[in-house]
Amino acid sequence: MKSEKSTGSYSTFAGSMGHSFISIFDFFLTPLQKLIGIKGIPYMFVLPNLLIFGIFILYPMLLNFVYAFTGGAAFFPDQRSFVGFRNFERIFDCQNIMMPNTCREDLFWRAVHNTIVYVIAQVILMVLIALITALVLNRNIKWRGFFRSVYFYPCLLSPIVVGLIWQWILMDSGLLNGILTSLGFARQPFLVRANWARFWVILVSVWSQMGFFMLILLAGLQSIPNDLYEAASIDGATNWKAFIGITLPLLMPTMTVVIVLALIRAVQVFEIIYAFTGGGPGTATLYLVQFIYNYGFASPNRQFGVAAAASLLMAGVLIVLTLAQLAARREEAY
């Protein structure tokens, strides 16, 4: 009965299509069920996903260890020789890790430095803007749906599109320099000067991701019961006091989730930067994932071992961040 009712919402044609589809499968699968028995059924359901997952995600992750502990330029693992921790030693072969110039793998350490600065600045700026926007949208605002959609829209654009749009705006004869010139200022070498490029990479990534975090924060704000505010205003609390006393503490769990998610994404930043600055000028916006990509795919002498070792180090950082997120989610649940 139940199934009849729930399939009733399909159109008749799609419904009968679905029915015959299910029946054909059922024709083969009912004998199979008899064959493998009810104990084997769950494995049958899990198997397709597990096969794809095992072959294309789990196995490569294990292979990554093989690459990290073997050397040479060969792509196939059986042609590579075991080198122990040499790839890691090579990465840490530094006089002073604060100064990439003194390191053997100076590009790796440059990427690490760039990534740390990027992560801190990007996460703080983005969470702040997302929070302010969510707070404003949580007021009694007309056209909230419209604003929400417009702010989310850049999140839908692919990295290459985002990169091209902003190259076009920031180029030497682009829109922004045009506005600066007509206001009487000098043109700025936005994508040529290292610090300008770092600045714009942060701004563009905030532009393209802010809407997503704003949506999560807005949902968190809207789940705060309204009667709390009513009770506070009866007690004579000002808006500011209500914000400090009610909004902030109740939003804290959502904030934690947002911050950790933003951190994880910031550490992984690659595609947008690849399409926007390509890591340049020089190595100014070279970040960790691009370093791994360059060493594994793009450079003429590929260093799979070093790339894999670097990715293991990075995975370590990400696992710590994700565990922090899971802990935060658990906190939120209680």
């Binding site: 139940k2 199934s3 729930s6 299910i22 499968f25 059922d26 009810i38 059924i41 769950p42 359901f45 899990v46 397709p48 794809i52 997952f53 072959i55 294309f56 995600i57 490569p60 992750m61 990554n64 693992p77 302010i132 926007t133 404003v136 949208l137 007021r139 009694n140 605002i141 007309k142 959609s149 417009v150 702010y151 989310f152 850049p154 839908l156 654009l157 692919s158 990295p159 290459i160 599109v161 091209l164 749009i165 902003w166 076009w168 705006i169 004869s173 997503f212 949506l215 999560i216 992984q268 690659f270 690849y274 399409a275 994932v289 791994i292 990509y293 594994g296 795919f297 990715s311 696992i319």
Partner: protein, 350 residues
């Protein structure tokens, strides 16, 4: 108080607009400008001629010089506004230019040639949304092919994701079997590691399987998303087991229970996963870039990246192709925006 002003500042609940409301709306409108302005600028620029696109400082609208067809001349002539010494102005068409002299004719009176110093004339322009960039661009940017590949990849990967993820989620949520916890925890653990850091080994596996330059290579490997399994499993846990038991008594097979009871009830979660999957697969860039190297297999995103590499200096063409690339997902978003924004707000993932 002025009734018009009162009407304009009235808001829901009949309270008047106060200072913080004005501040809020100012902030929001400024935000709209920043968030949507760049895309609008892209669209405007994509209609500009190569002359207009090189103009600095740039103008917002795509202007183009007007031309007129004059009797006795085969090609349309460019129209200029000429200022004479006595201060009078006339619209004249330019026949040819010799050094700093331009020979011009009045379109109404084509027999008389007037010589004008080129500093005395200004082009007559009008806003014109020309499609030349799109037409020229499409001759080398195989939009139809790339769009087709992108649609195939997005649809196939999404259907496959929905099928295998929902089956796995059903198995993990509704049965107790040895190894269940291990499978679930392993999947959750891999959520932490981004695919981008294991690119080299995944590429090795793809090479071994022989899926380089094959759309299967970007459809199948990403289909078993741990996120999807997690999302669907959590949802299916809330569906009461009694429904399954009564169906079993009626003689339904386990497959029938999955397909006819659980799946229809899990529709909200499936819809959210479908939306995410479409977004992920449509915008995938790094992965297709690695797997695909022959242009007949390019998706829109990879095709656009390659196009930009070839046409570095022809920004007018690149911009037009960028507009084409963002158009499909924009249309989908315009139709489904409410579902998408609420879906993300409730599940908190992307």
């Amino acid at each position: 108080m002025n009734p018009i002003l009162e009407f304009l500042t009235r808001k829901r609940g009949r309270k008047k607009l106060n200072f913080s409301d004005i501040l809020s709306y100012t902030y929001l409108m400024l935000g709209v400008l920043i968030m949507f302005g760049p895309v609008l600028w892209l669209i405007m620029s994509s209609f500009k001629s190569s002359i207009e696109i090189a103009r600095f400082p740039p103008r917002f609208f795509p202007y183009r010089q007007q031309t007129v067809v004059v009797e006795g001349y085969e090609e349309p002539l460019q129209l200029f506004e000429v200022t004479f010494e006595d201060g009078s102005t006339r619209e004249l068409a330019q026949v040819r230019r010799v050094g700093i002299e331009a020979q011009m004719v009045d379109p109404q009176n084509p027999d008389e040639i007037i010589s004008v110093n080129i500093n005395q004339r200004e082009p007559v322009e009008s806003i014109y949304f020309g499609l030349e960039n799109y037409i020229t661009g499409v001759s080398t940017f195989n939009f139809g092919r790339f769009l087709w590949n992108s649609v195939i990849v997005t649809v196939a990967a999404t259907l496959l994701t929905l099928l295998v993820n929902s089956m796995a989620a059903f198995g993990l949520a509704k049965y107790k079997f040895p190894g269940r916890q291990t499978i679930f925890l392993t999947m959750i653990a891999t959520l932490m590691v981004p695919l981008s850091v294991v690119m080299v080994p995944i590429f090795l596996v793809i090479t071994r399987v022989g899926w380089n330059n094959n759309l299967l290579g970007i459809i199948v490997p990403v289909a078993a998303t741990p996120t999807g399994v997690f999302l669907l499993r959590q949802y299916m846990l809330t569906i009461p087991n009694e429904l399954m038991d009564s169906a079993r008594i009626d003689g339904a097979s386990e497959w029938r229970i999955y397909a006819q009871i659980i799946l229809p009830l899990a529709k909200p979660a499936l819809a959210v996963l479908a939306i995410f999957s479409v977004m992920w697969r449509w915008n995938d860039f790094l992965w297709p870039l690695i797997v695909l190297s022959r242009s007949e297999y390019f998706t829109l995103q990879v095709g656009l990246a390659a196009f930009q590499g070839e046409h570095m200096v022809q920004w007018n063409l690149t911009l037009a192709m960028t507009v084409l690339t963002l158009l499909p997902i924009t249309i989908v978003f315009a139709i489904l925006q409410r579902h998408i924004t609420t879906g993300i707000a409730t599940t908190g993932l992307k």
